[in-house]
């Protein structure tokens, strides 16, 4: 069992007394005692401070209380919505992600994404009254108006669980988009709209596609899949109080075009898809400008009178204010492109964006007071809440949440990871492609290898220590090399951070933990199928009794605790557009989550690696395996 600094800090926060402090310091220093530490690393070594990291906000129906979901301290903080005085902090589960109130406001539901549970909080007692097991990596949650059913979006299992609202017993699952994450109940309660953060599968080297999954609440059935062509990464969705206008915040990547420069939306468009009776046919509208981008849109809120629509841009550290009347005028008067999307018109937003309101680091969730006079914004990486007056579109006050007053190197590194300020015109940050510090399910055509050459799949960045070198060609020996001048030249296309900021970023990235593996049994044992797969993974003889050369066994290249020998091999997967067939052996950490596969993402599934792209057994001896054996092998790989 391994812990990151943050995980340790969370655990330690629940232990009090001098012993905890001594242990904390000893653990913090332990890596430094074990190995030589370079001077710059020593300077950056942090005490693992735990920050509130407010992610989502909810107002009680009477507007008296503000519920703040704090991801790193793993609690819901209850504030007086007028004075911002702390009322109570309610501990919840591991890495909470989603939060919703029941219609009456008597219960608050919190999804705990790393222990796969749902915390039910009694808002009178301000205490957790139940913790229910749910699906893999629960994220968004809503309860229907009747209080009969709770819907939970599961990011890893790509579905929406329907629970009995009284018992928490799961009744059914509804298939949603890949990385199902955010749920919104329509004002009349009849529909639930679900979004997902990773794109659905599309043919290799074609545009990504996503959907808004529309659910009939009463019947708990999917009634529509609203297509979002070209979109990869959909976050919060809001509906106007009259239910006639819906808006979802999205990323619209340009991954199929060589990433030669960032100007003119070279890497991303950040957009909203609008739908509903006010709009007619759904339409995608951009949030960007010609020289300023709305990087990483996340939260959406529509004012109660439907005059304004607000969007948080996590990477741009601002809130966009949109005039709804002007927006609808634009939608109805501007001839629509054949694609139905205005995403590529960088001058469009001048027609409806009123202003950009600067807020804190990485703004995420936002919520209106019931009277619409205040807009609350959670600045996740600053531990503050910005309060905006929608009449003036100005921040009237900023509330600091309790927590460390010192910004640690680890925290600075995380801020650097999420901000877009280092890239040309603020278009991208690390998190634009590594959504929530993971990956994006896309393949990119990077410029230095040549246009149309060396198409590369974006890899997961969890638990990186011991997986060096980086890049599919193994060209970067460490994180500072990966994220330093190379990133400046070929990604940011602008001056980036200095050495200290780079060291902070590297510290953050080195500490990114692996999510809990959902395919492993709780006791660490393997299922019979996984056991058989493990034997195949490690076998030295094929089914005909012929020895498999050591270098052609799965376990040779994918060796070690992370499943990589950290060496490059040619496994016969070179494409005509590749400059070389010699490729870095990817780690197997949480490999079940990271489809598609191979260096260029050409294998849609793990199985296709061997059934389609291994005709000569260069990528391990696999052509002698039966379908059942391949299934066993896959079952084992999923446990890595």
């Amino acid at each position: 069992m391994k812990f990151t600094a943050e995980q340790l800090a969370r655990s330690m926060s629940r232990i009090s007394g001098p012993f905890a402090v001594m242990l904390l310091v000893a653990l913090a220093l332990w890596p430094a005692l074990r190995r030589p530490v370079k001077a710059d690393e020593r300077a950056a070594s942090p005490l693992p401070l735990v920050y509130a990291s407010p992610l989502e906000l909810q107002l009680s129906p009477d507007g008296a209380r503000l519920y703040v979901l704090c991801q790193q301290t793993e609690e819901v903080r209850v504030l007086d919505a007028r004075t911002y005085a702390a009322v109570k902090a309610i501990p919840v589960g591991h890495v909470p992600r989603g939060m919703a109130l029941s219609v009456s406001g008597d219960r608050l539901f919190v999804t705990n994404s790393w222990d796969d549970t749902l915390s039910v909080i009694d808002t009178s007692a301000l205490a957790v009254i139940a913790t229910w097991n749910v699906g893999a990596e629960p994220s968004g949650v809503v309860e229907d108006r009747a209080g009969n059913q709770i819907f939970v979006a599961n990011r890893i299992s790509n579905d929406i669980a329907v629970l009995d609202a009284r018992t928490g017993v799961e009744k059914k699952r509804l298939l949603a988009g890949r990385g199902a994450s955010y749920l919104t109940l329509s004002p009349d309660g009849k529909r639930i709209y679900a979004t997902h953060v990773y794109p659905n599968a599309t043919p290799h080297r074609t545009a990504p596609a996503s959907e808004i999954t529309v659910i009939d609440t009463e019947r708990a059935m999917v009634v529509e899949r609203m297509p979002l062509p070209g979109v990869a990464g959909v976050f919060h969705l809001a509906l106007s109080a009259d239910g006639r206008l819906g808006a979802a915040a999205e990323y619209h990547p340009k991954n199929l075009i060589p990433l030669a420069h960032l100007e003119h939306g070279g890497a991303f468009a950040y957009t909203l898809t609008l739908f509903g009776a006010d709009v007619g046919k759904p339409v995608e509208i951009p949030l960007d400008e010609l020289e300023r981008y709305a990087s990483q849109p996340f939260g959406v809120a529509i004012s109660p009178d439907k005059s304004r629509l607000y969007v948080t841009a996590g990477g741009s550290e601002c809130v966009l204010a949109i005039d709804v009347a002007r927006l609808l005028r634009f939608v109805h008067t501007r001839p629509r492109p054949a694609s139905g999307s205005f995403a590529n018109d960088l001058s469009a937003s001048a027609n409806y964006i009123v202003t950009r309101i600067p807020v804190g680091h990485n703004p995420r969730g936002l919520a209106f007071s019931p009277d619409g006079h205040r807009l609350y914004v959670a600045n996740r990486l600053e531990d503050t809440i910005s309060i905006i007056d929608p009449r003036t579109n100005r921040v009237t006050s900023t509330v600091a949440l309790d927590g460390p007053k010192v910004v640690s190197a680890l925290r600075r590194g995380e801020q650097t990871f999420y901000t877009a300020r280092y890239s040309f015109q603020g278009q991208i940050g690390c998190a634009s492609c590594h959504i929530d510090s993971t990956f994006d399910g896309l393949q990119w055509d990077l410029e230095p290898d040549g246009f149309g050459r060396d198409i590369v799949d974006n890899r997961l960045i969890e638990d990186l220590k011991g997986t060096e070198p980086f890049k599919w060609n193994g060209g970067n020996p460490d994180i500072p090399t990966e994220c330093g001048p190379r990133t400046e030249m070929y990604f940011w296309r602008s001056e980036q951070y200095d050495g200290r900021v780079l060291a902070d970023l590297a510290l953050y990235m080195r500490g990114l933990p692996a999510r809990p593996n959902r395919w492993r049994l709780p006791d660490g044992e393997l299922t019979p199928s996984q056991e058989r797969g493990k034997a195949l993974f490690e076998r030295a003889v094929d089914r005909f009794g012929k020895p498999i050369p050591e270098t052609n066994r799965c376990s040779y290249c994918h060796s070690g605790p992370k499943g990589t020998s950290q060496k490059s091999f040619d496994v016969g997967t070179k494409k005509p557009t590749d400059n070389s067939g010699l490729l870095d052996t990817p780690q197997l950490t949480n490999t079940a989550l990271t489809a598609p596969y191979l260096h260029d993402g050409s294998a849609r599934t793990l199985e296709e690696i061997w059934t389609v792209y291994n005709p000569e057994d260069k990528h391990g001896r696999t052509n002698d395996l039966t379908k059942d054996e391949l299934n066993d092998l896959i079952e084992y790989l999923r446990t890595r």
Binding site: A260, L290, R292, N344, S347, D445, F451, Y490, E495, Q496
Partner: protein
């Protein structure tokens, strides 16, 4: 004799420095900030685009401090084009020690008044601007006009004069027949420059952008037509420029210029923005008058136009190009990603797309022309255009080039109005042909890259007929 006249006239001018009234008679404003401004009896702002002298009767930099002016540098027959360093401690300028000297680039240290020459050349060097990372950009005179030159090596501070033959420390970054004059360095690191539109062939002043390594040259906006010059970026990111009789701005959200409602006057060149957000502009009532400095309040509520207050004037002198003597935000440095090639690659994603109206039929081919040393257009060959309008070609670097789209019979269906260049080692993508900066590209693999990742060689290094060997299905 001529030199003596100039010195005398300059001395007389300095002796008669007086604040005078502008558009608000009887009301003058003393600025809190020190300002350096160029004073000249005659000012021809656009002469430089014709390769001619802007200050035919000389010019002198003045330091205006609390309403009083004094020459900024001593011992110079002429000085102009002040640019303050990012730390506010030194001033770049163009100067002539003797009237017969060419304009050269100098740097003044404000603390002690010491002066050193940074560019030593036999030709005029004007309009210097500080760049990040110890570099500067200026306009150097050539036989075909002024060209942009970047001096200094990244990460190397300019501690010594840079000779014209200093190799890599002097990098020409514009490659045109005609002049390009730097106006400002934008916060995103790009150089704003003025040149005539169509680039390399036209006569209408226009504003353009280029990275500090010479890559990515493009029009700032493509609503061409009116003459625009003298651009300066504000802290907000907007760029203010002049049409001569009016001011206008480029803003990030808009694809076209936005008028600035200002009193009717003639406006000259650059403005300066104070720490309070006010503008120090140079204007005159008519061509019969001289330019004087005015303070404008751009954000006064309910004002139909800029409220102007006279700040400073000098009888018989034009006061132009004011700069504040204060630290300022350092722009981002552009990390050059040019490859070590003698050529460049250009990928057009959909050549049918244009601000002038999208073509309804797919061109059959694209022709590349380069300009030779005599200014003649030379055809370098053609490349096929794919069904989706894409093409991928290798072109000569650091030379004027232009494209024409041809139909199946070889007739031109559309061609560029002017010329542009691609730096050697640059890999560039165009959304279409003159689509304007507001049009981003669609996310799809262009057909040409599905067919081949090898650009068709149109550098002229091989026989033109080579292009015929790269028909669809090749490579």
């Amino acid at each position: 004799m001529r030199l003596r006249f100039r010195v005398l006239s300059m001395a007389a001018m300095v002796a008669t420095l007086v604040p005078v009234c502008g558009s608000a008679p009887g009301v003058t404003k003393t600025l809190d900030e020190d300002i350096v401004v160029t004073a000249a009896p005659v000012y021809e702002p656009l002469a430089v685009l014709r390769g001619e002298e802007r200050f035919p009767q000389g010019a002198q930099l003045l330091l205006v401090h609390q309403g009083n002016a004094a020459p900024l540098v001593k011992g110079f027959a002429a000085s102009a084009d002040a640019n303050i360093s990012f730390d506010g401690k030194s001033v770049l300028f163009a100067g002539k020690q003797a009237a017969s000297d060419p304009w050269q680039i100098w740097e003044l240290t404000l603390a002690d008044g010491s002066v050193r020459r940074l560019i030593a050349n036999s030709a005029d060097a004007i309009r210097p601007l500080y760049l990040p990372a110890g570099q500067l950009v200026y306009a150097g005179r050539t036989s075909t006009g002024y060209r942009l030159v970047v001096a200094g090596k990244a990460s190397l501070s300019m501690m010594a004069p840079v000779a014209a033959d200093a190799g890599e420390t002097l990098l020409p970054i514009s490659h045109l027949q005609g002049s390009a004059i730097p106006e400002d360095v934008l916060l995103d690191g790009r150089i704003l420059f003025e040149a005539n539109f169509p680039l390399g062939s036209g006569t209408t002043p226009e504003l353009f952008l280029v990275y500090s390594d010479g890559s990515g040259v493009e029009s700032y906006r493509c609503d061409h037509g009116r003459a625009r010059w003298g651009g300066k970026q504000l802290a907000s990111g907007d760029v203010i420029f002049t049409h001569g009789a009016s001011l206008a701005r480029f803003t990030s959200p808009m694809a076209h210029e936005v008028p600035v409602v200002a009193p009717h006057a003639e406006y000259a060149g650059d403005l300066a923005e104070t720490a309070q957000g006010d503008w120090v502009v140079s204007s005159r009532a008519s061509s019969a008058a001289h330019y004087a400095l005015k303070l404008a309040r751009p954000d006064l509520p309910n004002s139909a136009s800029l409220a102007m207050q006279a700040v400073f004037a000098v009888s018989g002198e034009n006061l132009v190009d004011p700069v504040l003597v204060a630290p300022r935000t350092r722009p981002h440095h552009h990390p050059s990603a040019l490859h070590p090639w003698s050529y460049a690659n250009l990928l057009a994603l959909d050549s049918r797309l244009s601000r002038e109206g999208d073509l309804r039929t797919v061109p059959a081919s694209v022709r590349l022309e380069t300009m030779d040393a005599q200014g003649r257009a030379v055809a370098n060959g053609t490349a096929p255009v794919e069904a989706d309008g894409s093409f991928f070609v290798q072109v000569p670097g650091d030379r004027p080039i232009r494209f024409a789209l041809l139909n199946a019979k070889g007739a031109v269906v559309r061609q560029e109005h002017g010329w542009f260049w691609i730096r050697s080692g640059e890999q560039r993508i165009c959304t279409g042909c003159h689509t304007g900066p507001e049009r981003a590209s669609e996310n799809r693999v262009p057909d040409v890259l599905m067919r081949t990742a090898v650009p068709l060689d149109l550098t002229g290094a091989k026989a033109v007929s080579q292009s015929q060997t790269n028909a669809p299905g090749g490579n």
